[in-house]
């Protein structure tokens, strides 16, 4: 959906550029613009407000939150929650909170290892698979298996959690990072293949033919020409996978139990569950803000590629 909207706006802009500029229809033009900006502002507010509220809360004490009438901006901003987070011994709060905060560093590392691991695995396998699916669509086997892959996206993850648990118990993968990486890849790999397939289809076949005539084997043409050309698509797909893996909660909750593999979402939820006190919530908010930073920074750095990668994919996918 999002891609369609972007494309429509682009064509609307073109349309506007073609309008005769001699007749100054300032009123109409201004009206349209105002409506557009209002819509954009509304959408931005809709998406951003919860996050901004979280940021505000992370700088609040519990008193600021429960006070009546409610205070929307705690002035002055309080750093106490972040202090508790990074220097648990210095902060206020009971043993359970300190224990929970103590899990944060390992959870952060676990999340990073799992998310990066899943991203790399999906990109390596996914782009090669996507190449095969993009270039051999005339074969029934390829069409059928691709349909199968996409079908897996239609199955609710919930229904898979028990089978996963039983299998993992038997295989000794419970509470391991490897287990999480495998589980996440199983449902993020089809997504990667789908995004990359659309991207590769947009690359003219003559490019790899030229490479093969120039002296590449098929694999060399894939690695030396096709994949480098696919970099924007790979970055877009990689970030999607990273964010999905970083944010995943349900499987992580079921398949992990200790600091060995628990990820950020699980540990953050633990603040609410294990400490059991509403007064600990602000620490949870601060933790959530910290936890949302890596995907945020990643998206900001690579946003150019995200749009570019998905648009090319969208036009052909």
């Amino acid at each position: 959906m999002a891609q369609t909207v972007v494309r429509k706006t682009a064509s609307a802009e073109k349309e506007q550029a073609r309008l005769p500029r001699l007749r100054l229809e300032v009123g109409e033009d201004f009206g349209k613009r105002a409506a557009l900006y209002a819509a954009v502002a509304l959408i931005a507010f809709w998406s951003l407000a919860p996050f901004l509220w979280l940021v505000v809360l992370s700088f609040s004490e519990i008193v600021d939150i429960v006070t009546k009438p409610p205070r929307f901006l705690p002035i002055p901003l309080k750093l106490i929650n972040y202090q508790t987070l990074f220097f648990p011994q210095s902060g206020l709060g009971g043993y359970s909170k300190i224990e929970q905060v103590g899990k944060m560093p390992s959870a952060f590392v676990n999340s990073a290892i799992v998310a990066i691991g899943v991203s790399l695995l999906c990109l390596v396998i996914g782009s090669v698979a996507a190449y095969a699916y993009a270039r051999y669509q005339r074969y029934f086997f390829h069409r059928a298996t691709f349909f199968g892959l996409i079908m897996t996206r239609m199955i609710p993850g919930l229904t898979l959690s028990i089978p996963f648990f039983i299998f993992y118990k038997a295989l000794g993968l419970l509470d391991t990072k490897l287990g999480l990486i495998i589980a996440y890849s199983s449902f993020l790999l089809p997504l990667t293949i789908w995004i990359m397939k659309g991207y590769i289809e947009g690359i003219p076949i003559s490019l790899e033919r030229a490479a093969m005539v120039d002296g590449c084997t098929r694999l060399q043409s894939l690695f030396k020409v096709i994949l480098p050309v696919c970099t924007p698509g790979m970055i877009a797909a990689g970030i999607f996978v990273f964010m999905a893996a970083w944010n995943e909660f349900y499987f992580a909750l079921i398949l992990t139990s200790t600091q060995n593999a628990q990820t950020m979402p699980v540990v953050l939820a633990g603040f609410a569950v294990h400490t059991g006190r509403v007064t600990e919530l602000p620490t949870l908010f601060a933790g959530s803000v910290v936890g949302s930073l890596p995907p945020l920074i990643l998206a900001l750095v690579f946003q150019r590629f995200i749009v570019q990668g998905l648009l090319v994919g969208a036009s052909k996918g």
Partner: protein, 364 residues
Amino acid sequence: MAKIVLRDLCKFFGDVRAVDHLNLEIKEGEFVTLLGPSGCGKSTTLNCIAGLERPTSGEILFDDRVVNRLSPKDRDIAMVFQDYALYPHMSVYDNMAFSLQLKRMPKAEIDRRVHEAARKLSIDAMLNRKPMQLSGGQRQRVALGRALVRQPVAFLFDEPLSNLDAALRIQTRTEIKALQQELGITTIYVTHDQEEAMVLSDRIAIMKDGTLQQYDTPEETYSKPANSYVAGFIGMPRMNFLSGRASVQENQVVFDAESTTIIWPISILSDQQREAFGEGHEVLLGVRPEDIQVSRETENADVVADVFIVEPVGATTYLELRADGSNLKVSSDPSQRFRSGERVGLRFAPEKLHWFDRATGARI
């Protein structure tokens, strides 16, 4: 340089016969064009020669060596594609050097070859740019350069000029011919443009529905087309066709169309033609626009026609005529200044008539 031979080459895609028992011999250093409309199998043939498609049956020989199972990289050929197929992530220099780097050629030699080719194509100022920063014509040159540095056994061109504008196309065409003459490398060139084929080639292979129609020099395909299909394809404007019945009567050849009868002395026919016509034969009479003399004199004319449309192109003026229910195109001297609506008389140059069997289209 290599001699390339196609022996009974077939390529089927499911039920579609893209190339059907094609036999072709391309001499060392020869410039051969595969000519035909889209879907005639010319590009598939080229891809088979390049090794990008595997033939269903038949053999491809480079210098008497069967190369059917060789991968493209082992055939030592260079190919220029319609969309240029430049590697967008590499600079112009790297695009040209890529094949040499894969061969692990010494850096100094790569450098020398790339610069030499770039100078030849006047792209030496652009070696550090990316393909995106170049115009269509410049990209075309880089694609040529990429082929040149290879010094391959053969050049394969797949409609390399169709994405250029008309003026640039003609200019590049001349340059390609000059380069090929200078280097003397065997070249196979695919196009649907008959003029391009005529200008460039030593020999033209005209294809239709995967089969070879005629394989001959441009002059021969023009003056002695093997069938009515070739006759209609080669030459611009197109050859005129009149269908009727030809017969030999008392030392004369009589051509009967619907309401027109044209009589020539029998001497214009070869023995073979005389024998074929005999009592009467359903034929297509082909005559090129430039082989028809048009005048205001209608008395002794072969055909009388009405001028319908006048198309001056400078050196000549083409007239679209209507005679006997069919349309004819003729070229006339601009100084004659024909106007539309005028009645004119046509005389066909008897020694330049083309006779084809109406049923098979074959030349008689």
